[in-house]
């Protein structure tokens, strides 16, 4: 009897303890600040990171990437592969098996009809869906039963994890959005602001471009989560203020994407209220080299269209320019622990990265010698070298941003030491990155010799990103200056290799081709990669469970967040 009660008691305590420890909503409110304010909670209508990430508290995909870039099942039992029979042998269809018992926050059941509806919603020709590329190649979505979804592709797809995977492609509730198809999508304000989801939180109030309040979702599949009962999601201001609110005053618990100089971050951290965490995706700050002639003397149809560039096409010039750069210093000045030296266009996943010799050291003397050897010398004594009579004067543009302007000043100085004169220009980001064909200042038009910005890709497969180096993707007036090949890089070998990559399913082979592509772009003057940039976010010391994820929404595991001692 005695032993029995004791045992019973022990069992009771072990059973009760975790439950008591992690009770839904027991940790009160968590405050999150994003210095860019979310303007809509429907990621299909915006595509902005701020909107996708705020929505990820509510709506969820079938599978998502974890913080190390691996696919994990989310609303399904397992990720379908050819090995487990989920993906067909001919690579033209995959079958998702939905988890049983998942409910929307309004209490209704989550079924395959919702998944199919999401496909129809985004691919509607008049809807203007921002994530339509996720569904590229999908011919149909079938729903044999309530818990099975079959996605059919028109052609063999070695990487079928575009649709319904990752924060950009979550599942919407059919009942809520069925009236919002196509041209009607923007009119559904109520649905776009208060989507019903399967995620750990539900929207309580949404004030566009200002603040969102969420409450814990009663119907969430794990009864012990989330630990917080409320989320206050504030937007607006600037990165400095966001960092200060978390690290110095402690008003907020989590601040997103603090693009601040490392000494500023270090000083804020020294207040002891929180810490900054970094994660690395494939984001690279790079100098794009114009492979065409941007001279203003050319007409609007020829400027930045006709090849070659008067001097940047010479390997000695662009190699010397790259050698003159002290990448380690750039990292230290601009990004600190959120940056790494790189010479790869695709530095992550790490297998694809290349590290050419001399990438991390500055060699001004070597650069000078290389230019001298190539016969590019200062013939008229003005301190600027000439190639075939054309002085090496460079217009170097970028978007307006404190770190980028520091980089510009440093690089201008280094280039001046190898006899290259640089004129700097900074352009407002909304113009620079805007695709207005009427503006001469967009990065696509590239009316400059060199321009600097950062780019990345979603997910872990770089194939389509490598496609940005193909000859026929160069922007020109004929394509309304649309096209991703900003540097107008054009190389037959590159194009051939890329075609080979598209037909290869073997992973080791893909990596090998990827490295070759990386090398080609670096060696043949497509761009000068500078810094492999990470995402730096800050959280309060009292916030536990943070697992910074750069492959998916940063808030992907908010259900596991909790108050720490």
């Amino acid at each position: 009897m005695n032993i029995k009660t004791l045992l019973m008691g022990a069992i009771a305590t072990t059973a009760l303890a975790p439950a008591a420890f992690a009770e839904r909503g027991s940790d009160g409110q968590v405050n999150i600040i994003y210095w860019q304010a979310p303007s809509i909670l429907n990621p299909f209508l915006s595509g902005g990171t701020k909107d996708v990430e705020s929505a990820s508290l509510v709506v969820e995909p079938l599978a998502r990437y974890n913080s190390s870039g691996e696919l994990v099942a989310w609303l399904v039992d397992e990720v379908p592969t050819t090995a487990n029979g989920g993906a067909s042998e001919d690579l033209t269809s995959i079958t998702w098996k939905l988890k049983k018992g998942i409910k929307w926050s309004d209490g209704s059941d989550f079924t395959s009809a919702d998944v199919k509806f999401t496909y129809e919603y985004c691919t509607h020709p008049e809807g203007g869906c921002a994530q339509v590329t996720k569904f590229e190649g999908v011919t149909s979505v079938d729903t044999p039963d309530d818990h099975t979804v079959v996605v059919n592709f028109g052609a063999p797809t070695p990487f079928p994890y575009g649709p319904f995977v990752g924060g950009e492609s979550p599942i919407l509730q059919k009942a809520q959005f069925s009236e919002c198809m196509g041209a009607k999508a923007p009119e559904c304000t109520e649905a776009n602001f208060n989507p019903i989801g399967t995620g750990p939180f539900a929207v309580e109030e949404f004030k566009p471009n200002d603040v969102i309040t969420f409450v814990a979702n009663d119907q969430y599949r794990d009864a012990s989560k989330p630990a917080f009962s409320r989320v206050l999601f504030k937007g607006g201001g600037d990165a400095t203020a966001a960092g200060r609110a978390v690290l110095e005053t402690g008003e907020f618990d989590y601040a997103w994407n603090l693009q601040l100089a490392p000494d500023v971050i270090a000083q804020m951290e020294s207040a002891g209220k929180g810490k900054a965490v970094a994660g690395f995706g494939p984001l690279v700050e790079r100098l794009m080299l114009n492979n065409t002639n941007p001279s203003p003397d050319l007409g609007p149809d020829d400027r930045s269209v006709v090849r070659p560039h008067p001097f940047l096409s010479d390997p000695a010039v662009y190699k010397a320019m790259s050698m003159a750069i002290d990448r380690e210093l750039l990292v230290e000045i601009g990004y600190g622990k959120a940056g790494k030296v790189t010479c790869s266009w695709v530095p992550a996943p790490e297998a694809y990265a290349i590290s050419p010799e001399g990438c991390n050291v500055q060699d001004i003397a070597g650069a000078n010698a290389m230019l001298d050897a190539a016969g590019i010398t200062d013939t008229d004594g003005d301190g600027v070298r000439e190639k075939d009579g054309v002085p090496l004067k460079i217009l170097y543009q970028t978007s307006t941003n404190a770190v980028r302007q520091d980089f510009q000043a440093l690089i201008k100085q280094w280039w001046s030491e190898i006899g290259i004169e640089t004129e700097l220009r900074n352009i407002n980001a909304s113009v620079f990155f805007g695709g207005d064909p009427g503006s001469p200042d967009t990065f696509q038009k590239f009316y400059a010799d060199v321009e600097m910005y950062a780019n990345t890709f979603n997910g872990t497969d770089p194939q389509s990103y490598f496609g940005n180096g193909l000859c026929d993707k160069a922007p020109s007036p004929a394509t309304q200056w649309q096209g991703e090949n900003i540097s107008r890089f054009c190389d037959e070998e590159f194009d051939a290799l890329h075609a080979e990559l598209s037909g290869t399913a073997d992973m080791a082979k893909r990596v090998e081709i990827g490295q070759k592509l990386n090398t080609l772009v670096f060696e043949k003057g497509g761009m000068i990669p500078l810094v492999h940039r990470g995402r730096l976010s800050a959280h309060a010391n009292t916030l536990g469970g943070i697992d910074l994820n750069v492959w998916d929404s940063e808030l992907w595991n908010i259900a596991d967040w909790h108050r720490a001692e």
Partner: protein, 330 residues
Amino acid sequence: MTDAAKQEPLQHSNAQQEADRPTRSQWRDVWDQFKSHRGALAGGMLFLLICVGVIFGPLVYWNDAQYLPTGRDFIKLRDMRPVYHGLWDPSAKMNWAYPLGTDNLGRDTLARLMFGGRVSLAVGIAAMVLALLLGSLVGVLSGYFKKLDGLLMRLTDLFLALPLLPMILVAAVLFRESLSKSIGPEGGVFVLIVCLIGITSWMPTARIVRGDVLAIKEREFVLAARSIGTKPGKIISRHILPNVLSPIMVSATLGIATAIITESALSFLGFGFPPDFPTWGRLLNDAVDRMTLFPERVLWPGILISLTVLSVNYLGDGLRDALDPRIRGR
């Protein structure tokens, strides 16, 4: 309310001047009055000092504003503290060759302040003068000539309503290329910024001047001038303008400060000078993030902007008193 017994002061003093002291010019009187105003004199001197400092300073100072140390020098020379910092923290990194220290890229702060001062003062003064001329012209014309009033004031409303930022974008697209072709990239940006600040800040001056002109033109001395056949142009220049001088002067002082700060906002948004081209506003703006670590970097540009504005303000006070015939007469 106002007593009718008021004489027309300017006419009176002119008459007296012609009769009593034919050798003394009006400007001599103005100078005499100005000299006796201590604040104005001090303000003027300070302003002159700042101007001389920023114009001739870079010629004698040994560091270049745009030079960046490279290699090992970079780490050694960046984030240098000003020399006076040694008074309370002798261990700080400093060097007499860099009296006010260096910034996070190792550029000399004093050299940048002087270089930036040239640009800021030039932009501030040029934009202020442009805004003042436009504002006074529109204000006087619409206050004095009833026919023009409606049209000019609606124009003012239009300009007040226009959003500044899109306007700058349009102007930059339309004019930047052609301007930089004819007078170089920096000159082009300078003209563009001055014109933009000028044509977007004349409206308050115009409204204020118009209000005063409306009141003054009903005064007896204007009536008297008109009744003896004085031409409108003459009435405006001799009788109206001197009497609306004080609001114009206040607008002028406030205008310089606004122009200097607007310029920094424009550069901040990426519409201003090239990024390696320092101005006071930009120096201040860039330093705000590191305010607690390096307070001197915000203090110096801040102090200089304030001093400039203060000195111009006292200068304006003195000028107004000196130009006001009623005060001068006493």
